[in-house]
């Protein structure tokens, strides 16, 4: 497959349309753009309030997007971090338990880094599949959040700081949105301009080749999980500040939406392909959709069905899946086996 790609890139396209086609063919965000377009068109007819109340929409996009951004770093390497929802809950509770807000935020972020490190250890050193390792962590950390919080929401000591945090500081932008934009820019620079970030793609595309090329694969995996843990704990701290309380059950609703955002954003689950921009587009689409649902009073179960359907659609329509299906159908009609590996 990579062989085909080299040939494609090697071809010199001279016409404008040819250049454009080539450029588009290299992008992975197609499905996210389609989803966003559909959502925007439908919403602008049925629930235009979403755009008037854009502060709410932006806050929602920031919430989904922040977790999804961290996930993207891990997915690029062909791993997955299911524990983000619990990381969010645990770090929120830890933050609320510490009386001083500043210290609380720092400790919460430290907790996120530590969880990322533990995940990375199990995946890179022990060699457990990240799906199972982080699933175990998801449940273990949820338990930890319950233990720390005594199974009830914890109020933060300094409520004023929380209220101040919810207010807009630059124009209509609240600190949450600003942090999200900052995280987006930093991660975008990291994966597209920094050597370590570029190597994420190599690790995800072909781990053995990356290893042979002298890329410190294990260190990159650690980095990826620590980014994801850090970003999730950041989201947890922001949530706790905005609500002035930490709920040990937090994060479950975000989990599905952020996965859907990252996967529909064109981040291939087997790694090596994807982009931060795609995640942003996916998160925007899902955020707008959720706000539209809430504003028009759609029941929660129906919302869950829709987000679940989008996730199912996202994971079954990536190019590799479609190729597998088309290959399968073709082999039926041609009466011979078609091997994909």
């Amino acid at each position: 497959m990579s062989h085909n790609q080299t040939i494609q890139i090697g071809q010199r396209e001279t016409t404008l349309i040819g250049k454009l086609r080539l450029r588009l063919a290299r992008r992975t965000e197609g499905r996210a753009v389609v989803l966003l377009a559909v959502v925007l068109i439908v919403v602008s007819f049925t629930e235009p309030l979403v755009f008037t109340a854009y502060q709410v929409s932006l806050g929602r996009i920031a919430l989904i997007g922040l977790v999804a951004l961290g996930l993207t770093a891990v997915i690029l390497m062909g791993e997955l971090d299911l524990s983000v929802a619990s990381t969010l809950a645990v770090s929120g509770v830890v933050m609320a338990l510490i009386p001083d807000v500043r210290l609380g935020v720092v400790v919460a972020l430290g907790v996120g880094l530590l969880i990322g490190f533990i995940n990375g250890f199990f995946v890179a050193v022990v060699g457990i599949n990240s799906f199972i390792a982080t699933l175990g962590m998801l449940f273990a950390l949820r338990g930890l959040a319950f233990i720390l919080s005594d199974e009830a929401p914890v109020r933060i000591a300094d409520t004023d700081a929380g209220i101040a945090f919810g207010l807009a500081i630059i124009g209509p932008l609240t600190p949450r949105v600003l942090i999200f934009i900052l995280a987006f820019i930093l991660l975008q620079i990291f994966v597209s301009r920094v050597k370590a970030g570029r190597e994420f793609f190599a690790v995800g595309g072909n781990r053995q080749a990356a290893y042979d090329a002298g890329i410190p694969v294990k260190r990159r995996i650690f980095t990826g999980f620590m980014i994801s843990g850090f970003v999730a704990s950041l989201a947890g701290a922001i949530n706790t500040l905005e609500r002035t309380a930490a709920d040990p059950r937090a994060g479950l609703t975000v989990l599905l939406a952020s996965f859907a955002a990252a996967i529909i954003g064109g981040n291939y689950l087997k790694g090596g392909r994807g982009s931060i921009v795609g995640t942003l587009i996916g998160a925007t689409a899902l955020g707008v959709l959720q706000v539209a649902f809430t504003l028009s009073g759609v029941q929660v179960p129906v919302q869950e069905i829709f987000i679940g359907l989008i996730l199912l659609l996202a994971v079954t329509t990536d190019p590799a899946s479609l190729r597998a299906v088309v290959g399968g159908i073709r082999s039926v009609f041609q009466g011979r086996l078609k091997f994909q590996s």
Binding site: N129, F131, I132, I147, F259, P301, V315, D318
Partner: protein, 336 residues
């Protein structure tokens, strides 16, 4: 294709793993046999030191609670052995089956209710199986989304309300009957386990599921329709989840969409602790039964010792991670 030549293909393809038994490390031995010792130690500990464990009432209660989880775990063993990690959507499947059982049987009788539940199970198996088997999508993500879709549909139609069965109906009678100290539900668990163990070990389908988990490409090259195998594995899981839903509905005589929360996780813990490998290809249904006993007794001991829900979850999560670590390290030790 003849089974013998097929076995050869698989054996040749996996010859690297044949050395596992020769290694000197103790880990492979623990991964293989540890569960017997740990279960025995746990039972001994519980009987000696935990107040109220060794009473007839408590043992019956353990059986009652272990039965639905055990049935789910026995079915899910197929998905795990086929190398597809797990089926998270059992949570939705068990609840759907239980709700259908009580809601429909109140109106149309038990046989129609059973058929309706079967229809739901087939639907789950088809969606999960086609997405994973033919679209080659990741099983964890697919079943995560079908969980949310399923629970959402259930909550939408039931409105989140609780369904009650009639006090004197056949479902209630089944749920409360016992054979000595053993409730009927535990007998169902044992029957399901034996049937599934037979399917996994003695039929062509079970053979292909195991070979698929151990080497996917070799199985495909052997001329097996691998997509159908995956659908089959998910179908076995869906059927088991359906039966578990019936047992659960009969036991409590109530059904609500959130009644099976945590089943995915406890079943996975039981399967992995029992020694079935999440890397696929290795495992057995009877071992899963042992894992179920271990997990249920552990939970029971924690409950009896007044340890809070948070610690129980933490313990099970750590248990999964430790069990998988032992499995992974024993594989590494074997390869050296």
């Amino acid at each position: 294709m003849a089974k013998e030549t097929f076995t050869e293909v698989i054996t040749v393809a996996n010859s690297g793993e044949a050395d596992v038994k020769k290694s000197r490390s103790a880990l492979p031995w623990i991964a293989d046999n540890g569960i017997f010792i740990f279960t025995a130690l746990l039972l001994l500990f519980a009987a000696l030191f935990v107040d109220g464990f060794a009473s007839l009432v408590n043992i019956t209660d353990v059986f009652h609670r272990a039965a639905p989880i055990g049935i789910v775990a026995a079915g899910m063993t197929f998905v795990v052995i086929s190398g597809n990690y797990l089926d998270l959507s059992v949570v939705a499947q068990v609840a759907t089956s239980a709700v259908i059982m009580l809601a429909v049987s109140n109106l149309y009788g038990v046989p129609i209710a059973m058929l309706a539940a079967l229809g739901a199970a087939v639907l789950y198996a088809l969606i999960n199986g086609i997405a994973v088997g033919y679209f080659k999508a990741n099983a964890v993500i697919v079943t995560l989304s079908t969980t949310y879709i399923g629970v959402g549909v259930l909550r939408f139609f039931s409105g989140g309300s609780i369904f009650f069965g009639p006090e004197d109906g056949p479902i209630r009678a089944f749920g409360t009957s016992k054979l000595g100290p053993i409730p009927y539900s535990a007998i169902v668990l044992i029957i399901v386990t034996l049937v599934l163990a037979f399917v996994l070990n003695r039929t062509n389908f079970g053979f292909v599921v195991r070979s698929f988990g151990s080497n996917e490409s070799a199985t495909r090259l052997g001329g097996v329709n691998t997509g159908l195998v995956i659908i089959g594995a998910f179908f076995v899981t869906a059927l088991a989840a359906m039966v578990a839903g019936w047992v659960l509905a009969a036991f409590s005589n109530t059904a609500v969409s959130s009644m099976s929360t945590g089943y995915d996780f406890q079943a996975l813990a039981a399967i992995i602790v029992g020694g079935t490998s999440v890397f696929g290809g290795k495992g057995s249904v009877l071992r899963t039964l042992l894992g179920v006993i271990f997990v249920s007794v552990l939970t029971n001991v924690l409950v009896l010792s007044n340890i809070s829900f948070g610690y129980q979850q933490l313990a099970l999560g750590v248990l999964i991670v430790v069990a998988v670590t032992v499995d992974a390290l024993s594989r590494k030790a074997g390869k050296r």
